[in-house]
Symmetry: none
Subunit: 95 residues, 2 copies
C-alpha cells in the first residue's frame, strides 16, 4: 500500500497567539498561515489584521512556505492596523 505524503498544508499544529500588548494569549490549531490568520482574527475579535509576526523578534510571516518551517507552539503576535511589534522586557529602543 502506498501512502501519500502531504507536501504543503499537512495536519493542524498547535500555535500560540498573543495580542499586541501581550495581555492575552491563546492556543490555536492551524494547518496553514491562512487558517491561523482566520482563527486569530476570530479569537481576538479583530476585523482587520495588519500582520502576523513572531513574538520573539517581530519577524513578519507573510508566506505559507516560511510558516511551514515553524515549530509547534511557536508564539505569534497578531497586529491590527496601527499596531507595532515591540520587544518583551524593555521598550527602550526608539522607532
Amino acid at each position: 500500500t502506498q501512502q501519500l505524503f502531504p507536501s504543503r498544508t499537512s495536519r493542524p499544529k498547535p500555535f500560540r497567539v498573543t495580542n499586541a500588548n501581550r495581555s492575552m494569549k491563546k492556543g490555536i490549531m492551524a494547518d496553514g498561515l491562512r487558517d491561523l490568520l482566520n482563527k486569530a482574527m476570530d479569537a481576538f475579535h479583530v476585523s482587520c489584521v495588519s500582520a502576523l509576526v513572531l513574538d520573539e523578534d517581530g519577524t513578519g510571516v507573510d508566506t505559507e512556505e516560511f510558516f511551514q518551517t515553524l515549530k509547534e507552539n511557536t508564539v505569534f503576535m497578531v497586529l491590527e492596523k496601527g499596531q507595532k511589534w515591540t520587544s518583551h522586557q524593555n521598550k527602550d529602543s526608539q522607532v
Copy 2:
C-alpha cells in the same frame, strides 16, 4: 539506483530579513542568494538593493558560496542605495 545530489541551490531554507532601520522584519524562504535578494526586494518594495548584509555585524554577503554556509533563520539586513548598516542600539536584551 543512483541518486542525484543537488550541488548548488538545494531546497529552500528560511531566513529573516530586516530593513535598514530595523522597523520591519520578514520571514523569507530562499534557495539561494539571488532568490533571497529578489524576494527581499519584493517584500520591502525596494527597487534597487545596494547590499545584503548580516544583521549581526554588517558582513556583506556577495557570493552564493558564502551564502550557502549560513544557517537557517540567519538575519539579514537589506540596504538600499545610500543606506548603511549600523549596530543594534543595545543587544543585551535578547533571549
